[in-house]
Symmetry: C2
Subunit: 327 residues, 2 copies
């Protein structure tokens, strides 16, 4: 029956190479900070040029149905992983999808929505890096890896405020999820090009409202901007790059950006990365680092480094051209 | 960015040829009799081996939203035709889909459902033959073409009984739809391998409850069973095959099966087609021709001819082996 495949191929429109979006995944456990990270990024690129996909929409069961199941929403069996893979392939090859929709407020699966392929696709959620086929769809892969005590507090805050749970229910849910988190979520860390950890610096007594510091493991699986030059030239005190080995023994760079970094010091580094994007004029957009309430320089620099990767994947030779305000 | 395509292909599981389903489409206007035709067919093959897809599930707008639109549910712009094409391609190549669901009762779009590829896929609805790419996905294409006055009555009966409309509302809706029916639904007739018309025979005064007669235009676009031999041998009086030209001048066979056909005469023809399927033993299943209330020999023979095509597409050399009860 290969005749049918040939018939389909003969009448299919060829997809021009430039219409295939650049795809980045942001994986991480529940309340790891995925939305905070991706929001500023999408706004700088321009919301009309970015599709943001939450792969938690691929839940196989709604909240009510999950109550009778021996596993939680974190388990691959609780998700249409094969359909997620299929949709990622379709998006990666420039085709639209009819994406399922999980309503986090009501806990119900509702009417699906059309997602047209755009220049950039940001895919965030619990399991975007779970399978080999899903990973093959991405140009850049990110894993968010906050310390567990911080993530717990974030999850309690968010789920009691926006999703109708009590604090006790969230704590109970965290306990139920722990085993699956260890089995399915955290192993995705090793497939990430960049691992991001926001946390307070141990041993420091920063004043309240000091933003969290960022620690970025930069794996040589993709080409990062040469930060050694930037940091040697500007001699920052609160931003460091350290060569070392990752948990698995592989060589990595780790970039530390302290939460107390002075604005002028951060600005020099941000401006240098901005220039690497091929944009000589103007300052990096103020939306970078925005926390809703207040702002964070470590977040801004993190977002700029991701922006660099997206632009490089879109057009390796002259990344900055693609950004509004670029030459 | 072809590297991403290559990466995806390298890690994709190859689809074995035998897992690609045989696909048949049954196109036709609203209430043309699509469900009545396909139900018996699916039951004979075995419900566990058949997926039945209604492409009206690909409505872009729900009933409430359509009220403000300048077109009806028949218009391609009122449907996700590109997603329908995509899903048909996926099914035709043996892949599962997450199909949208339109609830005809409430008129709302709801939670999508997983459709796993099975051996046979029956696709029925308003627009399955609308595009070239959709048509390329099918092994056999059917168009249901009842006389307009009969279809109107069927639609009034069904929509007032099962979908919460009044008769006046249905008549009004039929008027609103007429132009789009002419523009988008009826043109699909010319892409069908078999065109089926159930209607009373003009000029006859059959007793009440006589089933409608069937007129089947058999286009030489697929290989039909050689009915000349069957009909010469059995000398039926209420079943005729006539060579002629279709509306567009192309040569076609037209098979007439009168509603009053005696059971014994019909049985000979049914048995002959059943034997052509490679099944020597047993009679054709009694579910063929079932109307819910009563039964119809013209419907039974029509379903058998479609069954023949499905089996031939599945395994041209020895079709009957695939049927339960086959040798």
């Amino acid at each position: 029956m290969t005749h049918k495949l040939i018939r389909i191929q003969r009448v299919s429109e060829p997809v021009p190479a430039h219409s295939r979006p650049v795809m980045i995944s942001v994986a991480g456990d529940s309340a790891a900070g995925k939305t905070t990270l991706t929001k500023g990024l999408a706004q700088v690129i321009g919301l009309e040029r970015v599709a943001v996909i939450g792969v938690d929409d691929y839940h196989r069961y709604d909240r009510q149905e999950r109550k009778g199941l021996p596993f939680t929403a974190l388990h691959p069996d609780c998700n249409y992983v094969d359909i997620m893979e299929q949709h990622l392939q379709l998006l990666a090859t420039g085709q639209p999808i009819l994406k399922p929709v999980y309503d986090h407020g009501s806990g119900r699966l509702t009417r699906p929505e059309l997602i047209e392929p755009k220049e950039f696709v940001i895919v965030e959620g619990l399991l975007p890096l779970h399978t080999r086929l899903a990973r093959a769809c991405f140009d850049v892969t990110i894993y968010l890896d906050p310390p567990e005590n911080i993530r717990r507090q974030w999850k309690i805050d968010r789920d009691t405020q926006g999703r109708g749970y009590t604090a006790d229910q969230v704590v109970d849910e965290l306990r139920r999820r722990e085993q699956e988190s260890a089995a399915f979520i955290r192993p995705q860390r090793r497939f990430a090009d960049i691992i991001i950890r926001f946390s307070p610096v141990t041993g420091r007594e920063d004043p309240p409202n000091t933003p969290l510091s960022a620690e970025l493991v930069l794996r040589p699986t993709i080409r990062h901007p040469d930060l050694t030059k930037i940091l040697v030239a500007s001699e920052p005190r609160a931003i460091h790059l350290k060569l070392g080995r990752d948990e698995d023994g592989r060589p990595v760079d780790t970039l530390h950006i302290h939460g107390y970094v002075p604005q002028e010091e951060s600005q020099v580094v941000k401006k240098a990365i901005w220039t690497l994007l091929g944009i000589d004029s103007g300052d990096p957009p103020g939306i970078l680092g925005d926390l809703g309430e207040g702002r964070s320089e470590p977040l801004a620099i993190t977002q700029l480094l991701l922006l660099y990767q997206l632009m490089a994947a879109a057009e390796p030779a002259s990344a900055g051209r693609l950004l509004p305000g670029g030459p």
